[in-house]
């Protein structure tokens, strides 16, 4: 028996979570009546959500700002390509190609996580470029040219589109639920302590390296899953695109605009990003410039992002990680 307890999740947050659950079901049924275009756009949205949630886990909660996580997007896609070439069914390779990246990220963590903040960010970017060069040495990739997942053409286009869509939906849901559960447990407090003051975190017993490594590996797998899903829907693998810095720019944009270090932030950021892409995507360079301007406006005027605005309105952060103590003995 204990005397004290943590306040239960507020009614409003429960409603949001229930709404998200219903949205998940509706999205799950959507291929039955949605157009191919809508299904494609939503697939991309789910991929963006995976990227944003994952990068937020790393930067927003553990304080590890990386501009090189395209390394894992590219590696995930490359692994999938290689697995399919070796005979693995493509839809299995979407998951397996992402999961296998854990085996690469785990040892990698031993090097990059010893670095300080600025060094880590740069080292990750250098690593991404290095890994891209190495992948381009693989004769199968044909250098700049790349390769296509031609196996996928054997499937009926609608069946293929809908399967990838449903996989993206489920994986995005899984990434959200897993990171939410993780952050609500012991690891959540520990990552935030490390972000705020790594030395002090160690002094109260947090195994700083172990915790950072877990988060790092999870973020790598998240990005790799985004990479396999993206390859499955785009079909063509080109090293410069798969390992391109644009992935980092997208993640930064979604997380900063949505709200760094919040649960809802990256999801809202991804929705906004996708919306902008649908409306302005045809404007090429102007589109990128527009993104830059929006990001700058946010950085200057809304430093805590959309979730920051909502929190001000509501007087508290919706779906917060914050744990409040019940003021009375129970």
């Amino acid at each position: 028996m204990t005397d004290y307890s943590i306040r239960p999740i507020p009614q409003f947050d429960r409603a949001i979570i229930a709404g998200a659950g219903m949205a998940f079901v509706v999205f799950g049924l959507l291929p039955m009546f949605g157009s191919a275009l809508v299904v494609d756009k939503l697939t991309m949205l789910f991929i963006y959500i995976i990227l944003a949630v994952t990068w937020n886990l790393l930067a927003g909660y553990a304080g590890l700002v990386s501009v090189g996580h395209q390394a894992f997007v590219g590696l995930g896609a490359y692994m999938m390509l290689r697995m399919v070439e070796a005979g693995v069914p493509p839809f299995i390779a979407i998951v397996a190609g992402g999961a296998v990246i854990a085996l690469i990220a785990w040892p990698m963590a031993a090097f990059v996580l010893r670095l300080r903040a600025g060094e880590f960010a740069i080292a990750m970017w250098v690593l991404a470029e290095t890994i891209r060069s190495l992948v381009m040495l693989d004769p199968y990739i044909q250098g700049e040219t790349g390769r296509s997942l031609v196996v996928l053409n054997a499937y009926d286009p609608d069946m293929r589109r809908n399967t990838i869509y449903l996989m993206a939906l489920v994986l995005a849901g899984a990434v959200i639920v897993i990171s939410y559960r993780l952050l609500h447990g012991r690891l959540g407090g520990e990552t935030q302590a490390i972000r705020d003051d790594e030395e002090a975190a160690g002094s109260v017993g947090v195994s700083t390296f172990r915790v950072k490594r877990i988060i790092f590996v999870l973020s790598a797998v998240g990005c790799a899953l985004a990479g396999t899903l993206w390859l499955a829907s785009a079909i063509t693998f080109q090293p410069r695109t798969a390992f391109g810095i644009q992935w980092s720019v997208f993640m930064l944009f979604m997380v900063l605009v949505g709200g760094l270090g919040s649960i809802l932030g990256p999801i809202l950021g991804a929705v906004l990003f996708m919306t902008l892409q649908v409306i302005f995507g045809d404007f090429g360079v102007w589109y990128l410039a527009g993104l830059g301007i929006v990001a700058m406006l946010f950085a200057l005027h809304v430093p805590r992002g959309i979730v920051g605005l909502l929190s001000e309105k509501m007087g508290r952060e919706p779906i917060t990680m914050q744990k409040l103590l019940n003021p009375k003995r129970t």
Binding site: Y4, A193, A200, G202, S203, V204, K323
Partner: protein, 246 residues
């Protein structure tokens, strides 16, 4: 001074720590017995805080050896030492600024104290009561003033359920009444068997709880032993009292 007895809980032998050419710890030996309360005094820059950092594993030492309950912990990281039962506070508080007071203490109770969620919640709440922070439990740590941040330092260290607590100038700035409360708190920890090492400039507070006093200056131990005898020591009077007349 006698060589540290085998009963000693935490023993440091010939510690050295240099920052460039500055010898912050210059051959410092230190020990504290189980359940003992030791005070540390010394002028600014004497190396007191650096000694705490070395004992708690906040940084590697340049030389020397540290044992705890007979085990060599010289190369163990801070989190291992914390799990073994050594907790420190920071002289300049280092709260987790993005978290609430309660969450700060909770991390310590779960990570350092090894408690699961429900018992950790209970433990954290009781420590907040004990340290006078309960009313501020759900306040963001960033909103605390200096005195409450110092209280949070003590609360967070206590939450790890330590065998030995290293307290670094937690009494400065308190009113006389608050000081009395603080002394009562530390005395009760001692009565419950906790080992205490307390760096404090407020001698009259220190004297009330400690069994033994260590005086440091310029990275060395000038004198150690019975508090009154140490304060009468000629070197101590010259180095410590001479530089900070009270």
């Amino acid at each position: 001074m006698n060589s540290p007895d085998l009963q000693s809980h935490l023993v440091a032998r010939r510690l050295r720590k240099s920052y460039g050419s500055l010898k912050a710890l210059d051959d410092v030996s230190f020990h504290v017995g189980k359940g003992e309360a030791v005070g540390i005094v010394g002028p600014n820059g004497a190396g007191k805080t650096t000694l705490f950092g070395a004992l708690a594993g906040s940084f590697p030492v340049s030389g020397g050896q540290i044992t705890f309950a007979g085990d060599d912990i010289t190369h163990d990281p801070a989190e291992t030492r914390c799990a073994m039962g050594i907790a420190r506070t920071y002289q300049v508080p280092r709260p987790f600024l993005g978290m609430t007071v309660f969450e700060n203490v909770m991390v310590a109770a779960r990570a350092g104290g090894g408690l699961s969620a429900a018992p950790a919640t209970d433990h954290a709440a009781k420590i907040l009561e004990q340290t006078g922070l309960f009313a501020l439990a759900n306040t963001p740590a960033a909103a605390l003033g200096l005195l409450d941040r110092k209280r949070l330092e003590v609360a967070r260290a206590l939450a790890t359920s330590p065998d030995i607590i290293l307290l670094d100038e937690i009494g400065g700035g308190l009113t006389e009444a608050e000081l009395v409360q603080l002394i009562a708190l530390i005395q009760s920890l001692k009565d419950n068997g906790m080992t205490i090492v307390w760096i404090e400039h407020i001698l009259h507070a220190l004297i009330k709880v400690i069994d033994r006093l260590v005086c440091m200056a310029e990275g060395r131990v000038l004198a150690a032993g019975d508090p009154n005898a140490v304060m009468q020591n000629a070197d101590v009077r010259r180095a410590y009292l001479g530089s900070t007349p009270e």
